[in-house]
């Protein structure tokens, strides 16, 4: 039997003091004890683990030859239940071989607070440190950012079904989630992952309808072999941009550069400038809400990524469900003025979705729904109906659905 690897000393130990950073290493100590050998985090991030909550029955496992280890539940929290402009959450998780982890967000939706000058100064050092890596867009500096980096070892499994992110009006947010799997593992030894990433139109109770400035969600799965060679297996990237930044850039290019020089020395001149401008100024020039136009008729859009032996059954189930959806349109579909407008089948249940087995065995589910509740019931319903996630990870893996 393969010995569990010794916990590797973290190369980030000295830099862990940065705000918003967190690091988790889950190891399997003999005989079969999942143990968090590293758990560090810094304000405004909080990581709370819970072990022993659920014990999968041995016969239920998809991995017939090995007894699965008990999943460890990790709660991902931020103070205030959301992200302020300038917040940069950076979580690194390592799942050593044969471990299992459930990650959820127990605070409800991840709120992305709006980008206003008053809030921008929370962590100026963090912002400056990352300026150079960003695309040439000044507006990225006052963004909220979250990066999640998960290393999933051989036979290990991650189940990450969080609440959606809810970007408030005028907010700016970028998220990069990178998952690295073991390229040398084949067949049932492969790493498994289930990742949900969804975003809503905002606070519907306040009448928000895709009124934020920018939201970007990027999910990447990489395979890394024992020599450290990496290969991109899957990239899912959604960019929702109201493109108001474009107008400002072209209108006041010189002004921007001038501000750029003064921002570092006197932080407030650069930040106070927007106060003079009404926030709706660019929106006035572009009467249409571009993001709403591009997501219509949906109030929430999202992606579910499934891969590996543990989620094989769920993936196949989703594909089967997709393929058994009723066909769309009638025989005379090109007749664009039918006397009796038939009800569009695609919106029955208010969820429009698609599932595909893309490459390397990945099943990618994309969906759009009328609102958060609809999407939640639909997705939660499908996953519960199939049942393997609950059998392997327990009901609490679905606590956000």
């Amino acid at each position: 039997m393969r010995q569990p690897a010794m916990p590797i000393p973290s190369p980030f130990q000295s830099s862990i003091a940065k705000p918003g950073q967190g690091k988790v290493v889950l190891s399997l100590l003999p005989p079969n004890n999942p143990t968090l050998t590293t758990l560090t985090y810094k304000y405004p991030l909080k990581l709370v683990p819970r072990t022993g909550g659920f014990v999968p029955s041995p016969d239920s496992s998809a991995l017939s030859d090995t007894c699965p280890s008990n999943p460890v539940h990790l709660y991902l929290l931020t103070y205030g239940g959301g992200l302020l402009p300038g917040d940069h959450i950076e979580v690194s998780i390592t799942l050593e071989p044969r471990t299992r982890m459930v990650v959820t967000t127990p605070q409800g939706s991840t709120k992305i607070f709006k980008t206003t000058p008053n809030n921008s100064g929370t962590a100026p050092n963090v912002i400056k440190g990352h300026r150079d890596q960003m695309p040439a867009n000044d507006h990225l500096s006052d963004m909220s950012q979250q990066s999640l980096d998960v290393n999933i070892g051989r036979q290990a499994a991650l189940c990450y079904l969080p609440d959606p992110s809810v970007p408030f009006q005028h907010s700016r947010y970028a998220q990069v989630q990178t998952f690295t799997v073991d390229a040398t593992a084949k067949g049932t030894e492969r790493s498994s992952l289930c990742v949900l990433d969804w975003v809503t139109q905002g606070r519907t109770s306040r009448g928000e309808d895709w009124n934020f400035q920018f939201w970007r969600g990027r999910n990447e799965v990489w395979a890394e072999d024992d020599k450290g060679k990496r290969r991109l297996l899957l990239r899912d990237s959604v960019i929702l941009d109201d493109e108001s930044g474009d107008l400002e850039d072209t209108l006041s290019d010189e002004d921007e550069i001038e501000n750029e020089n003064t921002t570092y020395s006197t932080t407030h001149t650069g930040l106070e400038n927007p106060v003079d401008l009404p926030p709706q100024a660019p929106a006035g020039l572009t009467p249409l809400n571009i993001i709403a136009e591009r997501t219509r008729p949906h109030g929430v859009v999202g992606t579910l990524i499934l891969s590996g032996p543990v989620f094989e059954a769920l993936g196949s189930f989703m594909l089967k469900q997709f393929q058994s959806q009723p066909r769309i349109g009638s025989r005379n579909w090109s007749d664009h003025a039918p006397s009796v407008p038939e009800p569009s089948l695609s919106y029955k249940g208010d969820v429009t979705w698609t599932a595909a087995r893309v490459r390397a065995g990945f099943v990618l589910v994309k969906f759009g729904a009328k609102d958060f509740e609809t999407a939640k019931h639909w997705l939660g319903g499908l996953i519960r109906e199939e049942g393997s996630v609950i059998r392997e990870f327990g009901e609490e893996a679905l606590c956000c659905l």
Partner: protein, 306 residues
């Protein structure tokens, strides 16, 4: 005698000036610090008209070849989601034309944000073609779009190998470094595709359209602006052609849209926006489009492959 000297000198100045212009054009082609703007393109064509050197004539010739709707890529088989969009959005309140214009705009924005960075990267660094091919395959979220992209990419390789390669291998002598790299990159990908056809390798080379387009344009001597413009223009043409065949509009109306300033502005704006987007930052700006394309398979009846 003096007069003769002056004439000689003048002739030499003209020659040197034209060479300087050529050198500048080549430098610009290799660097491209700024995205194209409509006036820059226009200015370039004006200068091109005045001096018809071999290289610009070759480039114009290549441009016409690649923008030809008769280029056998099979683009007519794909509607880029239009067919599915029409089925999902039955025009009950809005006129079909209005609904189509919405789709065209979304479709151009989407192709620019998802594929154009790969076109540009293919042209800028032809030697990275295999990585670009892998990364675009990893980034294509549904089978329908993947099939369409691969089929057209492989058709492009076919046209290149069977028709263009011979002529364009001759044109640039001595071939510039980039052109040579482009030739080599296409050959390598083509070999890789042939050798893995049997074993059906899931993660093997695929031959996606966008990066190949960039590399083939490079090999044929198109500059980066032309490459990007023709790519987006061909996409618009394909969507409009699909619209005509789907009965959304008539052929004259389609040409009218194609010729319109509004379409040109939209295209220029999208190209300028994605000009410096690295491929890692490419992504879908129209999430609804992924759903329509993915659900094309569910249509009761289909006339297009996507």
């Amino acid at each position: 005698m003096l007069l003769k000297d002056t004439q000689d000198l003048e002739a030499e100045v003209t020659l040197l000036e034209s060479r300087l212009q050529d050198a500048r054009a080549q430098l610009a082609a290799s660097e491209y610090p700024s995205p194209p703007s409509s006036w820059a393109v226009r200015a370039e064509y004006n200068t091109n008209n005045n001096k018809s050197t071999t290289s610009t004539r070759a480039s114009l010739h290549a441009l016409l070849l690649l923008s030809d709707s008769a280029l056998p890529l099979g683009s007519f088989a794909y509607s880029s989601g239009l067919e599915s969009y029409l089925a999902h959005n039955k025009p009950s309140r809005t006129a079909p034309i209005t609904s189509f214009h919405r789709f065209l705009k979304l479709s151009i924005a989407s192709i620019a944000s998802t594929s154009l960075p790969y076109v540009l990267a293919g042209h800028r660094q032809p030697s990275t073609l295999d990585t670009l091919d892998n990364d675009l395959d990893a980034s294509t979220p549904c089978i329908v779009a993947q099939r369409a992209s691969i089929a057209q990419g492989r058709a492009l390789i076919g046209v290149w190998e069977r028709a263009f390669r011979v002529s364009f291998a001759r044109f640039e002598t001595p071939a510039s470094e980039g052109t040579e790299a482009a030739f080599a990159a296409i050959d390598d990908l083509s070999d890789a595709l042939k050798s893995c056809l049997q074993e059906d390798e899931d993660l093997g080379p695929k031959g996606h359209f966008a990066p190949l387009w960039g590399v083939v344009c490079r090999a044929m001597g198109l500059d980066l602006q032309q490459t990007a413009y023709v790519f987006v223009m061909n996409h618009a043409k394909a969507v409009l052609s699909a619209a005509v065949r789907a009965g959304v509009m008539g052929p004259y109306q389609a040409q009218n849209v194609l010729a319109s300033q509004a379409l040109q502005d939209t295209m220029m704006k999208r190209i300028a926006r994605e000009w410096n987007t690295p491929v890692e930052e490419a992504g879908q700006v129209v999430p609804a489009l992924d759903l329509w394309i993915g659900r094309h398979e569910l249509l009761y009846s289909r006339i297009f492959n996507s």
